[in-house]
């Protein structure tokens, strides 16, 4: 019962706090630009404003275009229920399998791209195709890195993987560290931050797939994108950085687990923010070259794992 409550609370908190995370990233960006910048609550204001606006869609778009934002958000809420955030184990174990998570993340991506093509806007279409290609380039190395972790821990449930890594009882520690590095790189690409925000590139594609959205749909899509960033970061934390999360379901342990989780998320987003503001966007042609590096690191992890070190 407690697990179910934790799962629901997690999902609700994620939905409510994700704009704060993206708002803080915007504020940091402004500081690095020597701008005064918006308040960290700006993303809430934006969403509130969009919710009041009319929802317009293009003449030739179909139900897919309408379906995408609620579907995107729904899938993320399901993911949030299963993701170990403050606890070490998965609140709902059936949702904690790596294969399930990867496919659950692929579903909204597919609809995101489909809706972009469906909106019959040239820029959106290009953005949608880019989004799919990013998926094709990044997902295999993500899978491979997690596969190595699964081999080393003997389970595909991320809660159990976290448990094993957290108690430092894995069979091949070097392989896990290298896999963690590969997964971190893949997650960074997955976050859709600079230099890899190619699908929504403002200067190139006018926000790509989001270009034709407006009003509540846009609000939902924007909130979902920031939720996705938090989910991806939590995923990384759950598997490779579980230290400090609650291993038993008592109030003090959960409170400590929540505090540690917030600190870890903040630290990771801080690092991402710095990286994001020090680079220019990767040229689309060279994207695949850079993701090859990630594949290379994953393969290296696999080799270490096979060698058993």
């Amino acid at each position: 019962m407690t697990e179910i409550i934790i799962a629901i609370v997690q999902a609700l908190l994620l939905m409510l706090l994700a704009p704060l995370v993206s708002g803080t990233a915007r504020w940091m960006r402004a500081k690095m630009h020597t701008r005064r910048g918006p308040s960290i609550l700006q993303d809430y204001y934006d969403i509130a404003k969009l919710l009041k606006r009319q929802d317009v869609r293009t003449q030739h778009s179909s139900f897919v275009f309408r379906l995408m934002p609620p579907l995107y958000m729904g899938v993320l809420l399901i993911l949030a229920c299963g993701m170990p955030m403050i606890t070490r184990a998965c609140p709902i174990p059936v949702l904690g399998d790596v294969i399930t998570i990867i496919y659950l993340l692929a579903l909204p991506r597919f609809f995101f791209a489909l809706a972009a093509v469906d909106s019959s806007d040239a820029y959106s279409g290009v953005g949608g195709i880019r989004e799919l290609i990013v998926g094709v380039l990044v997902e295999p190395s993500m899978m491979l890195a997690l596969f190595v972790a699964a081999l080393a821990t003997g389970t595909t449930n991320i809660g159990a993987m976290g448990e094993a890594i957290g108690s430092l009882s894995v069979t091949s520690p070097v392989a896990v560290v290298v896999a963690a590095a590969a997964f971190a790189l893949a997650c960074y690409v997955e976050l859709g931050k600079l230099p890899y925000d190619v699908a929504e590139a403002e200067q190139e594609l006018q926000e790509g797939p989001l270009a034709e959205y407006s009003g509540p749909s846009l609000a939902m899509a924007k909130a979902s994108l920031s939720m996705k960033q938090v989910i991806v970061v939590s995923w990384f934390i759950a598997v490779f950085l579980p230290f400090g999360s609650a291993t038993e379901l008592t109030i003090p342990a959960l409170a400590l687990g929540a505090l540690v989780f917030v600190v870890k998320v903040a630290a990771i987003f801080f690092i991402c923010s710095i990286v994001e503001n020090l680079v220019s966007r990767v040229r689309w042609k060279y994207m695949s070259r850079q993701t090859w590096t990630v594949v290379g690191v994953s393969v290296l992890a696999l080799v270490f794992c096979v060698l058993g070190i």
Binding site: H33, D197, Q203, N277, L278, V279, R281, R283
Partner: protein
């Protein structure tokens, strides 16, 4: 004896060569200044002569000017301006007369592609028909302009006349040369996506690759030349010329002032000349810093963008200190300048230049050290030197393709005569966006040195001369190197204290035609960066449409309504 003195003048060798090669075509030769000569040729021989001077003798063609000379000479005239930049440097203007009944002349564009925009413009503005012009679409006039109304003819219309729209559909065709490849059209504009200015681009793409591109501009033609001819006195036009551009206004007003001064033979005092050059360099500073920031922005490197613009603020302070205006406006008069540089301003300028140099150095280093900046800019937007030679682009755009063209050093004017020995043009031969960016970076640092040199070495004395007489119907060229390339103005004053004809050629006018070739073979993601790398200049919009969602009404506001609302802030045009 006479022919001996003739041959000594700059440009004389070109005239001799034309005489020798095409016997009998030269009708008249006249020097406007020491290095400007206008040669009138038979209209039939026009393409031959221009082609020979352009490709055969190292000429570049910034602009061709049309003029309605029926009241003076009974015909239309065309002036093909050629800047001779190899041996015997100078300006040779080839003049041809067009019969007012047939209105036809042989097009030079098939031989010298650089003429294409000028010939299309003459077709719009005067109704003269270039026979053989490959591209006969309108250039300047909008689609709904009546067919037989030619705004710049002396007898056509008052400058206040607003003709009824002749049609209400857009019928401009975008051209593409895509071979047999199947392409998708990606529209960019009518408002450019990242610089937020009016220009309509059509990219013909296959996947992400741009196969060809076409574009349309002049959405906001302000009719300045017509206004200058009919409404202002010739000595007020310097202030109108300021307003041609929001950034390089001073370059235009210096060019106009020079055109009149050259025509009337006015000796501008040496101190005024130095001040003009100094302010032009300050203008280059803030313009180049702006573009360097924009290049960062187009690459998605917004941190660099914001920091360049932070540093640029100081360059604007410098402009304010020297001219009283953040944008270097309102400095020039015919015969000199309005403000002197006093001792304390000199000290303050030197201090600011020192600070600016250090800060610019640090942001430029940051840009060049950004890990993937080179990956973004290198090999992108290639401008083939052959295309460049054929179309005469200007400024960092052509210097990035290996040509050391720079009016400041090719045809030194004003204070630049003092700088001849210590500075030179800065070409790079990568032909890509990176080279054009590096040219700008070098020029920024040159500008710091030039400002310091000019401050130290400016001669003292008066800054304005009024000692001259007004001589109608004389004409000449004025030219400056604006941050974006050469501005060429041609002015002829009339017998009523007004310009008879004023033609202002902005730098970007020469750079647009090559853009198409720079797009080809790149990807959509590079399009904005490529447009940005020529540092284009558009202008501001004339009218807006406001849609009220709740009332479901739509209303078009005219510029007049908006203007009056801006001034008075009452009687909102929306509230009736």
């Amino acid at each position: 004896m006479k022919s001996k003195t003739l041959s000594k003048k700059p440009g004389a060798s070109h005239i001799e060569a034309v005489r020798e090669r095409f016997p009998g075509v030269v009708k008249d030769v006249a020097w406007q200044t020491d290095d400007q000569v206008t040669v009138t040729v038979a209209t039939d021989a026009l393409p031959d002569v221009v082609e020979y001077l352009y490709f055969g003798r190292g000429g570049w063609l910034p602009v061709m000017i049309g003029n309605d000379e029926r009241p003076i000479k009974g015909c239309y005239a065309l002036y093909y301006v050629l800047s001779m930049e190899e041996e015997d440097k100078g300006w040779v203007v080839v003049r041809a007369e067009v019969d007012p009944d047939t209105l036809e002349f042989p097009s030079v564009t098939p031989r010298v592609p650089a003429c294409v925009w000028s010939e299309r413009e003459v077709r719009d503005m005067y109704g003269l028909r270039p026979v053989g012009l490959p591209d006969e679409r309108r250039l300047v006039l909008p689609d709904d302009w009546p067919d037989n109304l030619y705004p710049l003819r002396k007898d056509s219309m008052d400058y206040r006349h607003r003709p009824q729209p002749a049609r209400d559909v857009e019928n401009y065709t975008f051209l593409s040369d895509t071979g047999d490849r199947e392409t998708t059209v990606v529209p960019m504009g009518p408002l450019h996506i990242t610089s937020d200015e009016p220009g309509h681009f059509r990219l013909f793409v296959e996947g992400e690759e741009i196969v060809d591109a076409d574009y349309r501009l002049f959405y906001i033609h302000r009719g300045m030349e017509k206004v200058a001819e009919s409404r202002l006195n010739y000595d007020a036009v310097t202030f109108l010329a300021d307003r041609i551009c929001g950034i390089c206004g001073c370059a235009h007003s210096v060019a106009y002032a020079e055109a009149v001064e050259n025509a009337q033979g006015i000796e501008v005092p040496a101190r005024a000349q130095a001040i003009r050059a100094l302010v032009l360099e300050v203008e280059r500073l803030h313009s180049h810093l702006l573009n360097l920031g924009l290049v960062c922005h187009y690459c998605g490197f917004d941190t660099g963008f914001q920091h360049f613009w932070r540093v640029r603020e100081k360059a604007m302070d410098l402009a304010e200190l020297l001219t009283g205006h953040r944008k270097t406006y309102g400095l020039n008069l015919i015969g000199g300048v309005r403000r002197d540089i006093l001792a304390e301003q000199k000290m303050e300028t030197i201090r600011l230049v020192h600070e600016l140099r250090d800060e610019t150095r640090s942001v430029v280093d940051a840009l060049l050290e950004t890990p993937n900046f080179e990956g973004r800019a290198k090999g992108v937007g290639l401008l083939d030197p052959k295309i460049a030679r054929a179309f005469s682009p200007v400024g960092p755009c052509v210097r990035g393709s290996g040509f050391a063209r720079d009016v400041r050093f090719d045809h030194p004017f004003d204070g630049y005569k003092m700088l001849q020995d210590s500075f030179k043009a800065r070409p790079y031969d990568g032909c890509d966006v990176l080279s054009r960016t590096l040219v700008r970076i070098d020029e920024v640092f040159d500008s710091f040195d030039m400002v310091e040199y000019l401050l130290e070495n400016a001669p003292s004395g008066p800054i304005l001369t009024e000692d001259w007489t007004y001589d109608p119907h004389k004409f000449a060229l004025g030219f400056t190197e604006a941050p974006r390339g050469e501005d060429v103005h041609w002015a002829m004053v009339g017998d009523n204290q007004k310009c008879y004809r004023w033609r202002a050629k902005a730098a970007t006018y020469s750079n647009w035609p090559v853009l198409r070739y720079m797009f080809r073979g790149n990807t959509i993601s590079d399009a904005a960066l490529i447009v940005g790398s020529i540092d284009p200049c558009y202008s501001c919009t004339e009218r807006v449409t406001i849609v009220d969602v709740k009332k479901k009404t739509e209303k078009v506001l005219t510029r007049d309504q908006l203007e009056s609302y801006c001034r008075r802030r009452t009687h909102s045009p929306l509230k009736d």
